[in-house]
Point group: D2
Chain length 138, copies 4
């Protein structure tokens, strides 16, 4: 089961093609990951103050399948794909709710595999993810 987070498309998200600017799905994925972490009790600003560590994105793979537009209602998901000692890979999707019939299966717009590494927030060096964080994912 993936975590689901609703995101509305605003003017700021669109470009002159009339669609959501491709870069912005990466923002949507970041918002959904943050809310997913928060739902597991992991608040990033607090974590940084307590442990000195932060998650940083180390790689991203995106596939753009369909379009979304102004006023669209999206569902953005996050799910742990794999966990290492110093990094996690998160599988994410942006799905579009059919505005004429919200009961229909949402349409898959964009998929992402995002790897995040745990680093010391000052030196930016990779570090082992603290156990109390890793335990939230099992």
């Amino acid at each position: 089961m993936a975590f689901e987070f609703p995101i509305r498309v605003y003017w700021e998200d669109t470009d002159a093609s009339g669609r959501v600017f491709h870069v912005n799905y990466l923002k949507f994925f970041e918002r959904a990951r943050t809310e997913w972490l928060r739902s597991l009790g992991i608040a990033q600003q607090n974590l940084r103050e307590q442990t000195g560590g932060i998650f940083v994105v180390t790689s991203a793979q995106l596939e753009y399948l369909r379009q979304s537009r102004l006023d669209d209602q999206l569902i953005v998901t996050a799910k742990l794909q794999s966990a290492g000692r110093a990094s996690l890979t998160i599988e994410q999707q942006a799905l579009r709710i059919n505005p004429e019939d919200p009961s229909q299966e949402p349409e898959l717009i964009c998929t992402g595999f995002i790897r995040i590494g745990w680093v010391n927030g000052t030196t930016m060096r990779p570090t082992r993810i603290p156990n109390h964080i890793l335990e939230q994912f099992s």
Copy 2:
């Protein structure tokens, strides 16, 4: 005489109306102010490391007069309007070069009056602008 900085309009700057998203002129003004400060020998990252202070925007007044679009070439200006002990007011304009005839007078797209205050970068409290910075403007 105002400082002039060229800015090209990219996909990221536009919205679904086909024009530059109104918010982004405030980004363009920030870029031009930064380059204007740099041209006066004021590098913000260095300043922060040396003095602990940073400039923050305390107010902004924007008038949107005309439109600009993808691929447009803009000139963004910055000029000191007034200087106080802890803040400066900068007058800025975004002008559009006529792509069919660049020798024509550029068209005024957006104007801004931006007040920036000098604050302690840790406490965010207003402080007197260091003299060696103020001297750059006279």
Copy 3:
């Protein structure tokens, strides 16, 4: 009574000073205006398809009073200040909920007066706001 819209601060909203980048309050105000219009039955994408008209921002006045940061929960308001034949002025505020005690009065972070004009979406010429839209505000 102002319309209220909750906005969470994500990494994308912050800058290297550790605070919300000043430009992004203008995005937050746009989101809240859009939701306020939607709450009045005014969906901008539909309107454009039906009337050929769109709202564009013609001026903005912003005052930055305090700071907000990553993970902060904001309330962004929208309220009609005045209505003309071809433009509306909207008064907006961004307020920060105290994370330690959400029952406390939220702190005022940023205020804005945003004037939006109704224009033909193709020619971008100002036009009278259709009556059925104006009626939503009274």
Copy 4:
């Protein structure tokens, strides 16, 4: 030989970690691709008006290797990796010039493989890239 485009890091590009927000490298890559296309005589706004077609990003793979910060000067490259009938794959890099010694080899910050497809700007359906465009790449 890759096309090279200089990009300066501004406040808008950074986040609360003090570094460039990971999403923004995808913007930098888009700017450099646009300038690369322009250098080959391909102006996207004109193309759209003439052919009705536009390039859209269909996939992106990003690797984040090192950090960049406010005021950094980057070189962003673009190079054709492979060309199909309806899509191109572009290899891109963001490199950081050493501010203390610009004569040193720039440091590799982020790499991307971006696939762009040629679509009908109205229907968004994939179409064969016009020959006069494909010829620019050989």
